[in-house]
Amino acid sequence: FTSLRECKMQDFGSLILEELDKANQLDSLKFAQRHEVDEQKIVGAIKSLESLGDVIQTKIYQVKSWQLTAEGKEVAANGSHEYRVYSAVPDSGIQQSKLMSSCGAFGKVGFSKAMSAGWIKIDKSQGAPVVMKLVESASDTVGEHMVLIQKGESEKVDAKLKGEYKKRKLLEEVVDKHYTINKGTNFRTKIEKAPTELTADMIASGTWKTTSLKPYNLDALGVETGGGCLHPLLKVRAEYRQIFLEMGFSEMRTNNFVESSFWNFDALFQPQQHPARDAHDTFFISDPATSDRFPKDYLERVKKVHSVGGFDSQGYGYDWKIEEASKNLLRTHTTAVSARMLYRAAQAPQFVPQKLFSIDRVFRNETLDATHLAEFHQIEGVVADYGITLGHCIGVINTFFTKLGIEKLRFKPAYNPYTEPSMEIFSYHEGLGKWVEIGNSGMFRPEMLLPMGLPEGVNCIGFGLSLERPTMIKYKIDNIRDLVGHKVNLEMVKRNPICRIDKSGTGEERRLQVLNRRWANIESKLSCIQKQMEVMGISTATAHGMAADSSDGNLMDVVIKVHPDKPPYSLQLLLNVLKKRFKVAASTHTHSSVKSAGSLVLSSDESRITADVKITLIYSNVTRPTMIVKNAQIQGEENIVRYLARILDSRGGGNLYESLDSKVVAQIDNILDRLTDASKHSVSTLIPGILTKSKYLAGNRVTIADILAYSLCKQAAVSNSSIKDWSKRVEDAIAKM
């Protein structure tokens, strides 16, 4: 190399290997210093060598050193604060205020330090305090020390003083990590850099057959997808819309924000003096201010029922005014549209039953706060037919909310000018632990329906809720402005999940649901196998089955076939436990299909004749470990372990698997699955990952998760310190069982 500083990472790698070949051990710091390069580059090369498998072995060691802070550097350059204050005092003294203003930022600290060092004093005899020198000259030790430390000679400064400087924030202690490098078991000096991706050239030339690709880092995140996203609230709207459509409700034409008071209030039998019609609650329109095109005869009937009654009603007994009804406004509820739709249905030659819904904006001139805006989306459902009852109303609402995943409902009397009976809808909120109001409902008053011309006997139920409120609860949003309007955070829009409105619960609950489903799946498969076995004339005892086989004196007689490359170390552990509880006969054989036996030999002193448990291990050319038990086959080491553990748990008080808490069992199954799918590399990362939280893989005691993992680690010869410690712990725990 002409210049090492221009070396690439790979070149450093080769150099490290060459030097290591000669020296047997290297130190990253010294190596970097020798070659005058940044140690970080060397560390990068080391990491890259580590990823090649066991080419090198490394050990991290830490070195603490002292470094100047920004303030410390300033002191090294200009002297200590106290020295600078001292130097600023003329022999004739100086007014304290003048001194402080001339010293600037360091003045205050410097002054008190110089005072305590006894370099200066204050004379207050003249009125205004005057600072005088107390010694003729002072030496700036602090400044000198800073210079020493800056030069890297911090050992020349007393440790106690360094502690003091640290308190003064002049110094800080930094910890550097360095590596000691040794040869690994696969040490070699030549490294070929593994290509990272499959290329068109490789496919064309066929070199892919001999090329080994650099393994992917599966723990990193993928590249973010492009594309746009839909708004969270409108995703929820789509769900509600879908539910109404599933229930046979048709969508109302609600695209008319501007409405007349007549349709918004009067048609609904809402009296003209009702507080909701106050300007404090409703947005009135100044342009176009009024409407006048109302159906004449209908208007007369509305006027009559309000002022003097009719249709069996006493009316409100007031002077109804067309001027009030003509006022335009921004609709305060979509029920204004429902009124138009019902009026239209009443005009048809023959009444056709109606099931209607809408989800659209409504407007209230309200005081705004974290949960209220001047506009929000109202969800509304209406059913009109002969013979509709309050029981139907409750039934429809119940079906609707069940589809939303809300099942605990209660109804409470309420007041609403256009419904009678009226009901507030409450649901039990598991999170808050109380009943919360989620909507309003009721049967429209005859004074509203009959003037429209709907036939006697047609009843109409209605219910409504806001779209924002349940959405805020679902997505745990506290401020409505974070959900609706221009202040919404687009990042939130992007991250928002698809809306599965009937699926609630935390991530943990959902994970358990998945595990439960998988467990149910396993059970149904087992019962299927059991049925097959029954057909084949093999007797089985219980659903969990084969493990609970109740033969007296002959608990189990199994043959296990494994490939010599994968000795079942799990069996060795389980055998130790079995031996303490039962009379166990074990023997090991080698089939002619393989050249040699595996490194594990199971044996015992018990004779097969007296033994309750008989295990025969045969090394043969099988791809997966296979256990033969009474003509049935169990495949895979994890399932063999499960089988043996069931026997131990049910007959020997083993507490290794299904006798444990169901959450732990689910956890064990999850780990067994992951281990079964894991490659050698991922086994070595998977286990330490789980172990950071606890001493054992599942729960707080040794289980078959540990036993299988132990076996896989040993087969793969994975050994790092955390796995070694844990392996020892597993062996000890088994020995104590």
């Binding site: 409100y316 099931k355 506009e375 009976p421």
Partner: protein, 483 residues
């Protein structure tokens, strides 16, 4: 007796009254009495506009009482909790800073005459609906209470009086005995409180059919008795229900049915499903909107949801347009600038969303498909909604081609072909000028011979008007022609 002078007809025409004898007030009862009046004033009497109550110590005043209207300067008395006399004109001044009374002043302030009640000796009882006189003030020692209730809506006045006396007559020496007061109006004498009982005859079957529970007449009568509605089953199985003067809310048999349902318990009613068979139908414009929203999001734009109300400047000045030239619907009583008009375009809302998300990685690609509101005198209410699609692209370069690409994609999805000969066979762009766009960088979109919207690079003054500093292109079209 209350004598009504015709002078009140223009300001507050009616008055009703009653007397409660031998009332024993405790602190709690007194507070409750005041509270009840307050509640009635706020709700039923709609903040004293429809009716207002004055209560007086009858032993300090002498009937008959005169209800008349006089010019503000001519009414002079010591109002409640004051020590000196004020004219009613001065009182308007005094109470204009009083947070409690201030809201009621406009009810009479601009009337040439103010209503006032005098006793036989000329003592002012009250200046309705504002304040009572100090002279006849009720204290814990008061025994005999004179209640007057002036009103603009006689029905409401009667209800207020009925409610007040029915609630408080139990504290009289002879409980539930109320002394009536005559009102002499237009030469006729009316006696109040009316305390009218009324009966309603209902059928158990009708109740069962409405509520959805099977109840015999006797059971219905039982349930109604629980709700304090006296009920009796007649020979023909009908039920006669007596509605007391405390239940002015019962105006229709359905109000009685509700009481049955409440007494039965809403949560005890069996949940049933209506047999109504219907075929569901989506609103075509909403279906199209949802399909387009999906497609535009798939094209890489993120959906915004902005308010349909905004300030005049948002659609006007900030977009370099004159508000007078925009067919906007104006709101008469906005509490803040944010609710002056209904939006006439979606672009301002999108630009505000960009403004709030300036710190996000570029480019920002946003869209919204929603309603705008346009004044249109050809419609029933004089205004209509129009479904628009709008999109913006905000980046270091204007990205006209990106926005243009989105338009082409939307047209492709709507099966509108590009019309090469610029005819009405499909869509094409043509140069246009619009204040909101940079000159020479704006085009109008013509589809099937009709202008459906615009696209282009927004004018720098529009960009800076929304507190942005990078180029931005925008698109806004009406999608209703494609239904």
């Amino acid at each position: 007796r209350l004598e009504v002078d015709p002078s009140v007809s223009s300001v507050r025409p009616f008055v009703v009254g009653a007397v409660l004898r031998g009332v024993t007030f405790t602190k709690a009862r007194y507070d409750s009495f005041i509270d009840l009046q307050d509640k009635l004033h706020q709700n039923l009497a709609r903040k004293r506009t429809l009716a207002s109550v004055g209560t007086h110590d009858l032993d300090t005043i002498k009937g008959p009482f005169k209800y008349m209207a006089k010019p503000p300067g001519d009414i002079k008395f010591i109002p409640l909790n004051q020590t000196k006399q004020f004219t009613s004109a001065e009182l308007m001044e005094l109470y204009s800073t009083d947070s409690h009374l201030k809201p009621y002043l406009p009810i009479i302030r601009d009337s040439p005459v103010y209503p006032v009640i005098y006793d036989a000796n000329g003592v002012v009882l009250s200046l309705p609906p504002i304040i009572n006189g100090e002279h006849s003030k009720i204290t814990l020692k008061t025994k005999n209470v004179f209640i007057e209730c002036t009103c603009t809506d006689l029905t409401k006045g009667k209800i207020v009086l009925d409610t007040l006396v029915t609630m408080f007559s139990q504290y009289c020496t002879k409980p539930f005995i109320i002394e009536p007061v005559e009102t002499l109006i237009n030469g006729k004498v009316e006696v109040y409180p009316s305390l009218k009982y009324r009966t309603e005859t209902i059928k158990a079957e009708a109740v069962s059919n409405l509520v959805g529970v099977d109840q015999r007449p006797a059971q219905v009568a039982d349930l109604l008795s629980k709700m304090c509605l006296e009920s009796k089953v007649n020979k023909d199985e009908t039920i006669t229900v007596t509605i007391p003067p405390t239940r002015h809310d019962v105006i229709h048999p359905c109000d009685i049915y509700e009481d049955v349902a409440i007494a039965y318990g809403y949560n005890n009613i069996e949940k049933t499903t209506p047999k109504t068979l219907t075929v569901a139908q989506q609103l075509p414009i909403n279906k199209l909107t949802d399909q387009l929203r999906e497609a535009v999001a798939q094209s890489g734009f993120t959906e915004a949801l902005t308010f349909s109300l905004c300030s005049r400047d948002d659609v006007g000045a900030k977009m370099r347009k004159k508000i007078e030239n925009i067919p906007a619907v104006h709101i008469a009583n906005p509490k803040t600038l944010e609710f002056q008009v209904a939006r006439t375009a979606l672009l301002p809302g999108l630009l505000k969303t960009v403004q709030a998300n300036r710190k996000m990685p570029l480019p920002l690609k946003l869209f919204e498909i929603s309603d705008v509101v346009l004044k249109d005198l050809g419609t029933e209410v004089g205004a209509r909604n129009e479904r628009h699609l709008a999109a913006v692209f905000y980046n270091k370069t204007p990205g006209f081609e990106i926005i243009h690409g989105l338009l082409d994609r939307v047209m492709q999805l709507l099966e509108v072909p590009l019309s090469a000969d610029k005819s009405s066979s499909g869509y094409f762009l043509r140069t246009s000028t619009d204040e909101s766009y940079f000159p020479g960088r704006a085009a109008e979109i013509v589809a099937y011979g009709q202008v459906i919207g615009r696209l282009g690079v927004l004018h720098p003054e529009v960009i800076t008007g929304f507190e942005l500093n990078l180029p931005c292109s925008g698109l806004e079209i009406n999608i209703e022609p494609f239904l």
